[in-house]
Amino acid sequence: MARILIADDHEIVLEGIRTILGRAGRDWEICGEARNGRMAVEMVRTLKPDIVVLDVTMPEMSGLQAAKQIALGGTACRILIFTMHESERLSAEVRQTGAHGYVLKSQAARDLVRAIEYLLGGHTFYGAPPEAAPASKTNLGPAKFFVQALAMG
């Protein structure tokens, strides 16, 4: 069973995420909900989720900054950016933070479940499934994820 931490400062968005994930019928558990970036970083450290879904625009600390800190924190937690911002730049920005993928909020119904699956499977998801995910990337251990995160950040 995968444990998921979700972070967004809007209750309605959290509600939406819960709905989508609940409807997906996977063996997933939402282990916590953070309302800002700082809280998200803290909860990743205490709850040790398998994956964290981060909104970008949040008070106190943005999702991108939180992603950076989480990636540098040395956890095995996978990081998925979940954002309203739609831009060709997003991919590069997200990669720079050390996050493993992003999903646009407008495409949540279509992509969120898929992206979580990809990330949990050791792959990345930058707005779309990886073109040709190398076999070696599958089933990576937590240590490898950290190294990869460092390399990307």
């Binding site: 939406g16 625009t57 991108l64 309203m84 909020k105």
Partner: protein, 608 residues
């Protein structure tokens, strides 16, 4: 010895020497003549001796002829010859007394001659007595005596010849001596004369120098007198100043034309009177005249301004300078007083003062007005700053609100619609189409909201900074405007204070809007740089440029939407201590916004 005594002595000495010289020359001449005399003396002695002999021979002959012939005439001739002999003999005697030898010789000759004559007389006497005379015996006797006589004569002559050289040598010697004396004394006299001449020269020079000195002194005195005269004339000629002197007691002792003109008194009227007559009664009561003299005595001079009286009693405003005059010993010998009529000046000054006061009041008023103006300008600037800030704040709030609440709601709405769509997706009925259209509508609304919010407030600016926010913005701008944009960022260009980043971003937005609306350029180049502590953003287009005249107007007068925009940009930079430069040609425009990056933080801290 003074020079004159000395010169006198020298002169007298020279004269004496010259006398000596004359005497010596006389002596010299005398001795020269003496040697000649000695020669003639010798000749004379010899001649007289010869004469004696001749006379003796004559007498001898006549005696003989008498003795032999008995001729009485012969006897007469004999007597004459004897007389001749005696006469000559006497002459000879007178010639030789200076020399003992010659005297002796002469006496010898005389003796012999006397002896001969005696024998002759005896023979004659015998004859006369008629006795016979033995002539031959007589002749023998006579021969002996004749021989002795001849010897004596020869002795005389020889001695005389012998004496001649020594006598001549002696005379010559004396001649030489006296000649030497002549030459010597003459030479010394000449030298003394020369010396005397020199002394005279010196004295002459001294006298000339003294004369010159006295002449110079005289001329100096004449000049001084002239100067004094001129000065007096000058003082008299001064008409605008009353210049006069006071004696130590304060009585007027001299008076010039100016004083007459100023005060009305003539010199005759005022000289000798006390100068307090020039002062008004109240000053005299306070003892002012005497006090001024005291101050002048003590301080050397006093300057005063105040009312004074003319002869006719009218007043004038006077500037007075009293100066103490002291003699060489430092004793006060009087005072000089210079008085000027300052009435006009005083009035002018009063008027000036009044004008000055008015001017000062005016200046004060103006300053107040200026201050007010500056205050209102300041409040205007503050207002504009406040407006910009509140505009930024408003935009940011609306942008955030749109993005956060409406945007999020729309996003979730779309999520839900998507889910619904997936559920009904396969069915081809009205519900499915309606759901599908709702999905599209929601997506469009979401995009619209996002675009508007991005324009209102740049996404990512606070989170990621200019380096990230600008590309995000450029992407959207390029899509909307079809203008190709490029961004060049210095590697060292990093985060700046939020206010600076926002200001630069707004300037970028404004510039790009201007490029889009006005320039017609197909491209826009943005460059971010950091150099010399200045963070700069340069926006270059290739459009037609800003119309001439718009830029030439001062920033305060820019008009129209472009002008307002530029003004806003300018104001933003000004608030941050930065600069905005716009240069435009027909080939494009370059907008450069620069901010002193290091100073900005401090400035913001201070104003915060």
């Amino acid at each position: 010895m003074t020079v004159s005594v000395k010169s006198k002595a020298v002169f007298l000495s020279a004269i004496l020497l010259l006398c000596l010289c004359a005497a010596a020359s006389y002596l010299s001449f005398y001795y020269f003549r003496a040697s000649e005399r000695w020669v003639s003396h010798t000749q004379e002695v010899r001649a007289v001796t010869g004469d004696v002999e001749q006379a003796v021979n004559e007498a001898s002959r006549e005696r003989l002829s008498y003795l032999i012939g008995g001729d009485e005439s012969a006897l007469g001739r004999y007597r004459a010859a004897v007389a001749e002999v005696n006469e000559r003999m006497q002459t000879l005697q007178t010639l030789v007394p200076d020399n003992s030898v010659q005297s002796a010789n002469a006496s010898q000759l005389a003796q012999v001659t006397h002896d001969r004559l005696q024998t002759w007389e005896e023979a004659i006497a015998k004859k006369q007595r008629g006795e016979t005379v033995d002539v031959s015996q007589l002749t023998r006797q006579n021969l002996e005596l004749a021989a002795r006589s001849e010897a004596a004569s020869a002795e005389l002559r020889d001695e005389e010849n012998r004496l001649l050289p020594s006598r001549m040598a002696s005379a010559h010697h004396r001649f030489l001596l006296t000649s030497t004396m002549v030459v010597g004394s003459f030479a010394v006299a000449i030298l003394l004369m020369l010396y005397y001449y020199r002394l005279l020269q010196q004295e002459l020079q001294l006298r000339e120098a003294a004369e010159r000195l006295s002449t110079a002194a005289y001329e100096q005195e004449v000049r001084l007198r002239q100067e004094e005269q001129r000065f007096r004339l000058f003082i008299d000629a001064v008409k605008d100043y009353a210049i006069f002197t006071l004696d130590p007691k304060g009585r007027v002792s001299s008076w010039n034309e100016g004083a007459f003109r100023l005060k009305g008194y003539t010199a005759d009227e005022i000289v000798g009177r006390h100068f307090s007559v020039f002062y008004p009664q109240e000053d005299i009561r306070r003892g002012k005249p005497q006090m001024e003299l005291e101050v002048a005595k003590k301080e050397g001079r006093i300057e005063d301004e105040g009312w004074r009286l003319r002869k006719d009693g009218s007043r004038f405003w006077a500037n007075v300078i009293i100066t103490a005059i002291r003699d060489s010993a430092g004793e006060i010998i009087g005072f000089s007083k210079v008085t000027r009529d300052f009435t006009d000046r005083m009035r002018a000054q009063a008027a000036l003062q009044e004008a000055n006061i008015n001017l000062l009041a005016e200046v004060k008023e103006r300053k107040l007005a200026e201050k007010k103006l500056a205050g209102s300008e300041k409040s205007l600037r503050e207002l504009s700053r406040h407006l910009l800030r509140s505009q930024d704040e408003e935009r940011r709030r609306i942008g955030r609100d749109l993005h956060d609440s409406l945007g999020q709601s729309l996003a979730v709405l779309k999520m839900n619609l998507d889910s619904l769509d997936l559920q009904v997706g396969t069915e081809q009925n009205g519900t499915a189409r309606a759901v599908n259209s709702c999905v599209n509508l929601a997506e469009e609304a979401l995009r619209e909201v996002r675009t508007i919010s991005y324009l209102l407030y740049p996404p990512m600016l606070e989170e990621m900074g200019l380096k990230s926010a600008i590309p995000w913005y450029l992407d959207g701008f390029s899509k909307r405007s079809n203008i190709k944009t490029s961004l060049e960022v210095d590697p060292c260009f990093d985060r700046l204070p939020p206010e600076v980043e926002l200001a630069l971003f707004r300037i970028l937005q404004e510039s790009l809007t201007n490029i889009h609306r006005h320039s017609g350029s197909a491209t826009a180049k943005i460059k971010l740089s950091l150099a010399n502590g200045w963070a700069a953003m340069e926006i270059t287009d290739e459009g037609k440029g800003i119309p001439a005249g718009l830029l030439e107007q001062s920033g305060e007068d820019w008009m129209g939407s472009l002008g307002v925009g530029l003004r806003g940009m300018n104001e933003r930079m000004r608030q941050l201590g930065g600069r905005l430069e716009v240069s435009s040609t027909e080939n494009g425009t370059v907008v450069t916004a620069g901010v002193p990056a290091e100073k900005v933080q401090a400035r913001l801290n201070r104003t915060a």
